[in-house]
Protein backbone atom coordinates (compact mmCIF):
# COMPACT_ATOMS: atom_id res chain seq x y z
CA UNK A 1 0.00 0.00 0.00
CA UNK A 2 1.97 3.05 -1.14
CA UNK A 3 1.05 6.59 -0.16
CA UNK A 4 -0.84 7.10 -3.40
CA UNK A 5 -3.06 4.12 -2.66
CA UNK A 6 -3.86 5.32 0.79
CA UNK A 7 -4.59 8.90 -0.04
CA UNK A 8 -6.64 7.84 -3.11
CA UNK A 9 -10.09 8.32 -1.68
CA UNK A 10 -12.48 6.22 -3.77
CA UNK A 11 -15.72 6.76 -1.98
CA UNK A 12 -15.44 7.67 1.75
CA UNK A 13 -17.15 4.52 3.09
CA UNK A 14 -17.33 4.61 6.84
CA UNK A 15 -15.08 1.51 7.00
CA UNK A 16 -12.53 3.21 4.69
CA UNK A 17 -12.33 6.38 6.78
CA UNK A 18 -12.13 4.35 10.00
CA UNK A 19 -9.25 2.33 8.56
CA UNK A 20 -7.50 5.46 7.37
CA UNK A 21 -7.88 7.24 10.69
CA UNK A 22 -6.45 4.22 12.54
CA UNK A 23 -3.50 4.05 10.16
CA UNK A 24 -2.92 7.79 10.56
CA UNK A 25 -3.06 7.40 14.37
CA UNK A 26 -0.52 4.56 14.21
CA UNK A 27 1.81 6.49 11.91
CA UNK A 28 1.75 9.50 14.21
CA UNK A 29 2.39 7.45 17.31
CA UNK A 30 5.20 5.28 16.00
CA UNK A 31 8.02 7.06 14.15
CA UNK A 32 11.13 5.04 13.38
CA UNK A 33 14.06 7.28 12.57
CA UNK A 34 17.21 6.62 10.54
CA UNK A 35 20.08 9.06 10.99
CA UNK A 36 22.64 9.73 8.26
CA UNK A 37 25.40 12.33 8.41
CA UNK A 38 26.18 13.45 4.88
CA UNK A 39 29.38 15.29 5.77
CA UNK A 40 28.65 17.60 8.70
CA UNK A 41 30.78 18.42 11.73
CA UNK A 42 28.92 15.90 14.02
CA UNK A 43 27.63 18.69 16.28
CA UNK A 44 24.04 17.96 15.19
CA UNK A 45 24.71 14.21 15.27
CA UNK A 46 25.57 14.16 18.97
CA UNK A 47 22.45 16.25 19.61
CA UNK A 48 20.40 13.68 17.68
CA UNK A 49 21.96 10.90 19.77
CA UNK A 50 21.18 13.01 22.82
CA UNK A 51 17.47 12.58 22.07
CA UNK A 52 17.66 8.93 23.16
CA UNK A 53 19.17 9.74 26.55
CA UNK A 54 17.23 10.18 29.79
CA UNK A 55 16.93 13.97 29.68
CA UNK A 56 15.05 14.11 26.36
CA UNK A 57 14.02 10.43 25.91
CA UNK A 58 12.10 10.39 22.64
CA UNK A 59 10.97 6.78 23.20
CA UNK A 60 8.06 8.20 25.19
CA UNK A 61 6.87 9.79 21.91
CA UNK A 62 7.21 6.45 20.14
CA UNK A 63 10.40 7.44 18.32
CA UNK A 64 13.00 4.72 17.88
CA UNK A 65 16.40 4.99 16.20
CA UNK A 66 16.71 2.21 13.61
CA UNK A 67 19.79 0.80 11.93
CA UNK A 68 18.47 -0.32 8.57
CA UNK A 69 16.82 1.96 5.96
CA UNK A 70 14.20 -0.76 5.44
CA UNK A 71 12.83 -0.27 8.94
CA UNK A 72 12.79 3.55 8.94
CA UNK A 73 10.02 6.09 8.28
CA UNK A 74 11.91 9.35 8.74
CA UNK A 75 15.41 10.06 7.40
CA UNK A 76 17.18 12.56 9.69
CA UNK A 77 20.04 13.98 7.60
CA UNK A 78 22.73 16.32 8.88
CA UNK A 79 25.61 18.00 7.10
CA UNK A 80 26.04 19.81 3.79
CA UNK A 81 26.05 17.02 1.26
CA UNK A 82 29.65 16.39 0.20
CA UNK A 83 30.16 15.05 -3.32
CA UNK A 84 31.39 11.72 -2.01
CA UNK A 85 28.33 11.04 0.17
CA UNK A 86 25.78 12.27 -2.38
CA UNK A 87 25.27 8.89 -4.08
CA UNK A 88 24.97 7.09 -0.73
CA UNK A 89 22.36 9.60 0.50
CA UNK A 90 20.20 9.06 -2.59
CA UNK A 91 20.59 5.27 -2.27
CA UNK A 92 19.48 5.25 1.37
CA UNK A 93 16.45 7.37 0.52
CA UNK A 94 15.56 4.92 -2.26
CA UNK A 95 15.88 1.94 0.07
CA UNK A 96 13.36 3.31 2.52
CA UNK A 97 9.81 2.00 2.08
CA UNK A 98 6.92 4.43 1.50
CA UNK A 99 5.52 6.50 3.23
CA UNK A 100 8.82 8.21 4.09
CA UNK A 101 9.81 11.70 5.10
CA UNK A 102 13.12 13.58 5.00
CA UNK A 103 14.09 15.97 7.78
CA UNK A 104 17.11 18.26 7.29
CA UNK A 105 18.65 18.80 10.73
CA UNK A 106 20.93 21.82 11.25
CA UNK A 107 21.97 24.83 9.18
CA UNK A 108 24.42 22.73 7.12
CA UNK A 109 21.65 20.37 6.02
CA UNK A 110 19.34 23.31 5.34
CA UNK A 111 21.62 25.50 3.25
CA UNK A 112 25.23 24.30 3.54
CA UNK A 113 25.73 26.53 6.58
CA UNK A 114 29.25 27.80 7.18
CA UNK A 115 30.65 25.54 4.43
CA UNK A 116 28.56 27.16 1.70
CA UNK A 117 30.57 27.67 -1.46
CA UNK A 118 33.12 24.95 -0.65
CA UNK A 119 34.41 23.10 -3.72
CA UNK A 120 33.45 19.66 -2.36
CA UNK A 121 30.13 20.69 -0.83
CA UNK A 122 26.72 20.69 -2.56
CA UNK A 123 25.17 22.90 0.09
CA UNK A 124 22.07 21.41 1.71
CA UNK A 125 20.07 18.17 1.56
CA UNK A 126 17.50 19.66 -0.81
CA UNK A 127 20.08 19.53 -3.59
CA UNK A 128 19.68 15.73 -3.53
CA UNK A 129 16.42 14.78 -1.81
CA UNK A 130 12.93 16.31 -1.47
CA UNK A 131 13.00 17.66 2.09
CA UNK A 132 9.79 17.74 4.17
CA UNK A 133 11.05 19.65 7.19
CA UNK A 134 13.99 21.94 7.94
CA UNK A 135 15.33 22.31 11.50
CA UNK A 136 17.69 25.31 11.69
CA UNK A 137 20.45 25.74 14.25
CA UNK A 138 24.18 25.19 14.32
CA UNK A 139 24.08 22.82 16.10
CA UNK A 140 20.34 22.68 16.67
CA UNK A 141 19.24 21.94 20.22
CA UNK A 142 17.58 18.61 21.06
CA UNK A 143 14.42 20.53 21.97
CA UNK A 144 14.37 21.97 18.44
CA UNK A 145 14.68 18.48 16.91
CA UNK A 146 11.82 17.17 19.04
CA UNK A 147 9.73 20.22 18.12
CA UNK A 148 10.56 19.54 14.46
CA UNK A 149 9.52 15.88 14.62
CA UNK A 150 6.29 16.80 16.42
CA UNK A 151 5.49 19.32 13.67
CA UNK A 152 6.32 16.62 11.10
CA UNK A 153 3.73 14.41 12.78
CA UNK A 154 1.00 16.89 11.82
CA UNK A 155 2.15 16.67 8.19
CA UNK A 156 1.46 12.89 8.08
CA UNK A 157 -1.61 12.36 5.82
Amino acid sequence: MTTQEITKVTQPSRLGTLRRSIVRWARRRSIWVLHYNSGGCNGCDIEILDLLTPRYDVERLGILKEGSPRHADVLLCTGPVTRQSRARLAQIHAQMPEPKWVVAVGSCATSGGVFQGGINVLGGIDQVLPVDLYIPGCPCRPEAIIDGIVKLVELIP
Binding site: G39, P54, R55
Partner: protein, 360 residues
Protein backbone atom coordinates in the same frame (compact mmCIF):
# COMPACT_ATOMS: atom_id res chain seq x y z
CA UNK B 1 36.89 -21.01 4.89
CA UNK B 2 35.38 -18.54 2.41
CA UNK B 3 36.79 -15.05 2.44
CA UNK B 4 34.11 -12.34 2.32
CA UNK B 5 34.40 -8.58 2.56
CA UNK B 6 32.09 -6.91 5.06
CA UNK B 7 31.47 -3.22 4.44
CA UNK B 8 31.20 -1.13 7.59
CA UNK B 9 29.81 1.36 5.16
CA UNK B 10 29.18 5.07 5.23
CA UNK B 11 25.78 4.37 6.82
CA UNK B 12 26.01 1.93 9.74
CA UNK B 13 24.49 2.12 13.23
CA UNK B 14 27.99 1.71 14.64
CA UNK B 15 29.28 4.93 13.03
CA UNK B 16 28.05 8.38 13.96
CA UNK B 17 29.78 9.77 10.87
CA UNK B 18 30.26 8.46 7.32
CA UNK B 19 33.48 6.56 6.77
CA UNK B 20 33.95 3.35 4.83
CA UNK B 21 35.84 0.31 6.14
CA UNK B 22 36.05 -2.77 3.94
CA UNK B 23 36.89 -5.70 6.20
CA UNK B 24 38.43 -8.76 4.62
CA UNK B 25 37.00 -11.55 6.80
CA UNK B 26 37.70 -15.27 6.81
CA UNK B 27 35.34 -17.22 9.07
CA UNK B 28 35.20 -15.09 12.22
CA UNK B 29 38.65 -13.44 11.87
CA UNK B 30 39.31 -10.06 10.25
CA UNK B 31 42.40 -10.37 8.06
CA UNK B 32 42.76 -6.90 6.60
CA UNK B 33 40.83 -3.67 6.36
CA UNK B 34 40.79 -0.84 3.81
CA UNK B 35 39.81 2.66 4.92
CA UNK B 36 38.18 5.28 2.69
CA UNK B 37 37.74 8.78 4.04
CA UNK B 38 36.48 11.77 2.10
CA UNK B 39 32.79 11.56 3.00
CA UNK B 40 33.15 14.52 5.35
CA UNK B 41 35.87 16.40 3.41
CA UNK B 42 34.51 19.98 3.16
CA UNK B 43 37.80 21.53 1.99
CA UNK B 44 38.12 23.75 5.09
CA UNK B 45 41.74 24.64 4.34
CA UNK B 46 40.79 25.93 0.92
CA UNK B 47 37.74 27.76 2.29
CA UNK B 48 40.01 29.44 4.84
CA UNK B 49 42.08 31.03 2.07
CA UNK B 50 39.02 32.94 0.86
CA UNK B 51 37.94 34.29 4.27
CA UNK B 52 39.26 36.92 6.66
CA UNK B 53 40.93 36.05 9.95
CA UNK B 54 37.83 36.92 11.95
CA UNK B 55 35.50 34.84 9.75
CA UNK B 56 37.80 31.83 9.99
CA UNK B 57 37.21 31.62 13.78
CA UNK B 58 33.60 30.53 13.04
CA UNK B 59 34.69 28.26 10.18
CA UNK B 60 37.35 26.54 12.27
CA UNK B 61 34.89 26.00 15.12
CA UNK B 62 32.92 23.71 12.81
CA UNK B 63 35.82 21.43 11.91
CA UNK B 64 34.53 19.09 14.61
CA UNK B 65 31.40 19.43 16.72
CA UNK B 66 32.78 17.64 19.81
CA UNK B 67 36.11 19.46 20.25
CA UNK B 68 35.17 22.79 18.65
CA UNK B 69 36.66 24.97 21.39
CA UNK B 70 40.12 23.36 21.09
CA UNK B 71 40.22 24.16 17.37
CA UNK B 72 39.38 27.83 17.88
CA UNK B 73 41.86 28.08 20.79
CA UNK B 74 44.71 26.69 18.69
CA UNK B 75 43.79 28.84 15.70
CA UNK B 76 43.55 32.04 17.78
CA UNK B 77 46.88 31.26 19.50
CA UNK B 78 48.50 30.85 16.06
CA UNK B 79 47.11 34.15 14.75
CA UNK B 80 47.92 35.97 18.00
CA UNK B 81 51.55 34.81 17.86
CA UNK B 82 51.60 35.89 14.20
CA UNK B 83 50.30 39.35 15.16
CA UNK B 84 52.45 39.48 18.30
CA UNK B 85 49.45 39.88 20.65
CA UNK B 86 49.63 39.00 24.34
CA UNK B 87 46.37 37.55 25.70
CA UNK B 88 45.66 38.65 29.34
CA UNK B 89 46.01 35.94 31.98
CA UNK B 90 42.30 35.83 32.81
CA UNK B 91 41.50 35.18 29.14
CA UNK B 92 44.01 32.30 29.00
CA UNK B 93 42.52 30.81 32.18
CA UNK B 94 38.98 30.96 30.81
CA UNK B 95 40.12 29.36 27.56
CA UNK B 96 41.76 26.52 29.48
CA UNK B 97 38.63 26.11 31.63
CA UNK B 98 36.49 25.50 28.56
CA UNK B 99 39.15 23.22 27.07
CA UNK B 100 38.99 21.01 30.17
CA UNK B 101 35.19 21.07 30.29
CA UNK B 102 35.16 20.00 26.66
CA UNK B 103 37.58 17.15 27.46
CA UNK B 104 35.21 15.88 30.17
CA UNK B 105 32.22 16.16 27.81
CA UNK B 106 34.12 14.39 24.99
CA UNK B 107 35.36 11.54 27.19
CA UNK B 108 31.92 10.89 28.73
CA UNK B 109 30.35 10.99 25.28
CA UNK B 110 32.93 8.46 24.15
CA UNK B 111 32.29 6.18 27.14
CA UNK B 112 28.59 6.15 26.27
CA UNK B 113 29.20 5.41 22.58
CA UNK B 114 31.63 2.59 23.45
CA UNK B 115 29.06 1.03 25.79
CA UNK B 116 26.27 1.44 23.20
CA UNK B 117 28.37 -0.28 20.54
CA UNK B 118 28.99 -3.12 22.98
CA UNK B 119 25.29 -3.61 23.55
CA UNK B 120 25.45 -2.11 27.05
CA UNK B 121 22.80 0.60 26.72
CA UNK B 122 22.52 1.27 30.44
CA UNK B 123 26.05 2.71 30.70
CA UNK B 124 25.34 4.77 27.57
CA UNK B 125 22.22 6.22 29.14
CA UNK B 126 23.84 7.00 32.48
CA UNK B 127 27.08 8.37 30.97
CA UNK B 128 25.13 10.72 28.72
CA UNK B 129 22.79 11.74 31.50
CA UNK B 130 25.73 12.78 33.66
CA UNK B 131 27.28 14.55 30.67
CA UNK B 132 24.28 16.91 30.65
CA UNK B 133 25.76 18.55 33.77
CA UNK B 134 28.87 19.53 31.79
CA UNK B 135 26.74 20.75 28.89
CA UNK B 136 24.71 22.91 31.28
CA UNK B 137 27.90 24.40 32.72
CA UNK B 138 29.25 25.19 29.24
CA UNK B 139 25.88 26.61 28.22
CA UNK B 140 25.77 28.95 31.23
CA UNK B 141 29.34 30.01 30.54
CA UNK B 142 29.11 30.59 26.82
CA UNK B 143 25.47 30.26 25.71
CA UNK B 144 26.07 27.20 23.52
CA UNK B 145 25.83 23.52 24.49
CA UNK B 146 28.12 22.12 21.82
CA UNK B 147 29.74 24.96 19.89
CA UNK B 148 30.43 27.89 22.17
CA UNK B 149 31.82 30.78 20.02
CA UNK B 150 33.88 31.88 23.03
CA UNK B 151 37.25 32.59 21.38
CA UNK B 152 38.09 35.76 19.50
CA UNK B 153 41.51 36.72 18.17
CA UNK B 154 43.10 38.40 21.19
CA UNK B 155 41.22 36.61 23.95
CA UNK B 156 37.77 35.55 25.06
CA UNK B 157 34.43 37.30 24.74
CA UNK B 158 32.82 35.93 27.92
CA UNK B 159 33.47 36.69 31.59
CA UNK B 160 32.61 35.00 34.84
CA UNK B 161 31.21 36.97 37.77
CA UNK B 162 31.61 35.84 41.37
CA UNK B 163 28.13 34.33 41.72
CA UNK B 164 28.49 32.33 38.49
CA UNK B 165 31.87 31.06 39.68
CA UNK B 166 30.38 29.77 42.93
CA UNK B 167 27.58 28.05 41.01
CA UNK B 168 30.13 26.42 38.65
CA UNK B 169 32.15 25.11 41.61
CA UNK B 170 28.99 23.62 43.12
CA UNK B 171 28.08 21.87 39.87
CA UNK B 172 31.65 20.67 39.53
CA UNK B 173 31.31 18.88 42.88
CA UNK B 174 28.13 17.20 41.64
CA UNK B 175 29.83 16.27 38.36
CA UNK B 176 32.81 14.82 40.22
CA UNK B 177 30.47 12.49 42.10
CA UNK B 178 29.00 11.18 38.84
CA UNK B 179 32.42 10.81 37.20
CA UNK B 180 33.69 8.82 40.19
CA UNK B 181 30.62 6.59 39.93
CA UNK B 182 31.35 6.04 36.22
CA UNK B 183 34.96 5.20 37.14
CA UNK B 184 33.70 2.71 39.68
CA UNK B 185 31.42 1.03 37.12
CA UNK B 186 34.16 0.86 34.50
CA UNK B 187 36.69 -0.64 36.89
CA UNK B 188 34.43 -3.26 38.46
CA UNK B 189 31.96 -4.18 35.72
CA UNK B 190 33.02 -7.67 34.59
CA UNK B 191 31.06 -7.90 31.34
CA UNK B 192 32.42 -4.54 30.12
CA UNK B 193 35.95 -5.64 30.90
CA UNK B 194 35.45 -9.06 29.33
CA UNK B 195 34.52 -7.39 26.03
CA UNK B 196 37.42 -4.92 25.96
CA UNK B 197 40.47 -6.62 27.49
CA UNK B 198 43.09 -7.90 25.08
CA UNK B 199 41.36 -6.50 21.99
CA UNK B 200 42.70 -3.98 19.48
CA UNK B 201 46.24 -4.13 20.89
CA UNK B 202 48.70 -1.42 19.82
CA UNK B 203 52.23 -2.15 21.05
CA UNK B 204 54.41 0.78 22.18
CA UNK B 205 56.75 0.25 19.20
CA UNK B 206 53.83 0.46 16.77
CA UNK B 207 52.54 3.56 18.57
CA UNK B 208 55.92 5.23 18.14
CA UNK B 209 56.24 4.16 14.51
CA UNK B 210 52.82 5.51 13.56
CA UNK B 211 53.42 8.73 15.61
CA UNK B 212 50.19 8.17 17.53
CA UNK B 213 49.00 10.90 19.90
CA UNK B 214 46.49 11.32 22.66
CA UNK B 215 44.80 8.72 24.94
CA UNK B 216 45.51 5.93 22.42
CA UNK B 217 49.26 6.66 22.68
CA UNK B 218 49.15 7.07 26.45
CA UNK B 219 47.35 3.74 26.75
CA UNK B 220 50.24 2.16 24.81
CA UNK B 221 52.88 3.45 27.20
CA UNK B 222 53.97 6.69 25.44
CA UNK B 223 54.17 9.35 28.13
CA UNK B 224 53.25 12.43 26.05
CA UNK B 225 50.80 15.18 26.93
CA UNK B 226 51.21 18.66 25.50
CA UNK B 227 49.73 20.28 28.57
CA UNK B 228 52.83 19.20 30.46
CA UNK B 229 55.45 18.75 27.70
CA UNK B 230 54.91 22.22 26.22
CA UNK B 231 54.71 24.36 29.38
CA UNK B 232 52.26 27.22 28.82
CA UNK B 233 49.79 29.10 30.94
CA UNK B 234 47.78 28.02 32.88
CA UNK B 235 48.97 24.40 32.96
CA UNK B 236 52.45 25.41 34.07
CA UNK B 237 50.89 26.76 37.29
CA UNK B 238 48.47 23.87 37.92
CA UNK B 239 49.45 20.43 39.08
CA UNK B 240 47.92 17.42 37.38
CA UNK B 241 49.13 13.95 36.43
CA UNK B 242 49.47 12.39 32.97
CA UNK B 243 47.87 8.96 33.08
CA UNK B 244 49.53 6.20 31.12
CA UNK B 245 48.96 2.48 30.83
CA UNK B 246 51.08 -0.03 28.97
CA UNK B 247 48.61 -2.77 27.99
CA UNK B 248 47.68 -0.90 24.80
CA UNK B 249 44.23 -2.52 24.39
CA UNK B 250 40.74 -1.06 24.45
CA UNK B 251 40.52 -1.74 28.19
CA UNK B 252 43.65 0.36 28.83
CA UNK B 253 42.21 3.19 26.71
CA UNK B 254 38.97 3.03 28.67
CA UNK B 255 40.86 3.36 31.94
CA UNK B 256 43.11 6.15 30.65
CA UNK B 257 40.16 8.21 29.40
CA UNK B 258 38.09 7.73 32.54
CA UNK B 259 40.99 8.65 34.83
CA UNK B 260 41.75 11.63 32.59
CA UNK B 261 38.19 12.81 33.11
CA UNK B 262 38.77 12.75 36.86
CA UNK B 263 42.01 14.72 36.35
CA UNK B 264 40.17 17.26 34.21
CA UNK B 265 37.58 17.79 36.94
CA UNK B 266 40.40 18.59 39.40
CA UNK B 267 41.96 20.90 36.81
CA UNK B 268 38.69 22.77 36.36
CA UNK B 269 38.42 23.22 40.11
CA UNK B 270 41.97 24.60 40.34
CA UNK B 271 41.33 26.96 37.40
CA UNK B 272 38.12 28.23 38.98
CA UNK B 273 39.71 28.64 42.41
CA UNK B 274 42.70 30.73 41.39
CA UNK B 275 41.17 32.61 38.47
CA UNK B 276 43.21 35.83 38.10
CA UNK B 277 41.22 39.01 37.56
CA UNK B 278 41.80 41.63 34.89
CA UNK B 279 40.72 42.08 31.28
CA UNK B 280 39.76 39.04 29.23
CA UNK B 281 40.85 40.09 25.78
CA UNK B 282 42.99 42.51 23.80
CA UNK B 283 41.95 44.41 20.70
CA UNK B 284 43.33 42.81 17.51
CA UNK B 285 44.02 44.45 14.19
CA UNK B 286 42.31 43.16 11.07
CA UNK B 287 45.51 42.52 9.12
CA UNK B 288 48.23 40.08 10.10
CA UNK B 289 51.86 40.85 9.18
CA UNK B 290 53.94 38.71 6.80
CA UNK B 291 55.20 35.52 8.43
CA UNK B 292 54.10 32.13 9.64
CA UNK B 293 53.26 30.50 12.98
CA UNK B 294 52.57 26.99 14.22
CA UNK B 295 50.80 26.09 17.48
CA UNK B 296 49.94 22.83 19.19
CA UNK B 297 47.28 22.07 21.82
CA UNK B 298 46.17 18.91 23.61
CA UNK B 299 42.67 18.14 22.33
CA UNK B 300 40.55 15.35 23.91
CA UNK B 301 41.90 12.98 21.24
CA UNK B 302 45.49 14.22 21.17
CA UNK B 303 47.70 16.90 19.66
CA UNK B 304 46.04 19.41 17.32
CA UNK B 305 48.41 21.45 15.13
CA UNK B 306 47.60 24.72 13.36
CA UNK B 307 50.02 26.31 10.87
CA UNK B 308 49.13 29.80 9.62
CA UNK B 309 51.04 31.82 7.02
CA UNK B 310 50.06 35.46 6.70
CA UNK B 311 50.93 37.63 3.70
CA UNK B 312 50.03 41.01 5.18
CA UNK B 313 46.46 40.96 3.87
CA UNK B 314 43.25 40.34 5.83
CA UNK B 315 43.10 36.64 5.03
CA UNK B 316 45.80 34.01 5.51
CA UNK B 317 47.79 32.67 2.55
CA UNK B 318 47.71 29.16 4.00
CA UNK B 319 46.00 27.46 6.98
CA UNK B 320 47.03 23.87 7.76
CA UNK B 321 45.07 21.84 10.34
CA UNK B 322 46.38 18.46 11.57
CA UNK B 323 43.91 16.67 13.83
CA UNK B 324 44.77 13.71 16.12
CA UNK B 325 42.22 11.25 14.71
CA UNK B 326 44.34 10.94 11.53
CA UNK B 327 47.15 9.33 13.55
CA UNK B 328 44.83 6.75 15.13
CA UNK B 329 43.17 5.99 11.78
CA UNK B 330 46.52 4.89 10.32
CA UNK B 331 46.91 2.27 13.06
CA UNK B 332 43.46 0.72 12.56
CA UNK B 333 44.55 -2.00 10.09
CA UNK B 334 47.14 -3.04 12.72
CA UNK B 335 44.59 -3.14 15.52
CA UNK B 336 41.92 -4.89 13.46
CA UNK B 337 44.24 -7.68 12.26
CA UNK B 338 42.92 -11.13 13.35
CA UNK B 339 40.29 -9.67 15.66
CA UNK B 340 36.88 -11.39 15.80
CA UNK B 341 34.18 -9.77 13.67
CA UNK B 342 32.12 -9.19 16.81
CA UNK B 343 34.95 -7.10 18.28
CA UNK B 344 35.27 -4.77 15.30
CA UNK B 345 32.65 -2.46 16.85
CA UNK B 346 34.60 -2.37 20.13
CA UNK B 347 37.92 -1.62 18.41
CA UNK B 348 36.43 1.09 16.19
CA UNK B 349 34.79 2.81 19.13
CA UNK B 350 37.88 2.23 21.29
CA UNK B 351 39.93 4.63 19.15
CA UNK B 352 37.33 7.41 19.56
CA UNK B 353 37.01 8.16 15.85
CA UNK B 354 36.18 11.75 14.97
CA UNK B 355 35.87 11.60 11.20
CA UNK B 356 34.91 15.25 10.90
CA UNK B 357 38.31 16.06 12.44
CA UNK B 358 40.18 13.63 10.20
CA UNK B 359 38.56 14.75 6.95
CA UNK B 360 38.48 18.52 7.50
Amino acid sequence: MRRITIPIGPQHPLLKEPVSFLLDVEGEQVLDSVLRLGYVHRGIERLAQERSYVQIVHLVERVCGICSHVHTTTYCKAVESLMGLEVPERGVYLRALLCELERIHSHMLWLGVLAMNMGFDTVFMYAWRDREIVLDMMEDLSGGRVSHAVNVIGGVRIDLDEEQRKDMLARLAQLEQQVLRAKNVVEHERSLRARTEGIGILTPEQAKQYCVVGPVARASGLDMDLRRDMPHLPYSELDFEVITHDAGDVWARTLVRVLETVESVHLCRQILENLPDGPVSVRAKRRAPEGEAITRTEAPRGEVIYYVRGDGSESPARLKIRTPTLTTLITLPEQLRNVAVADVSVVLSGVDLCIACADR
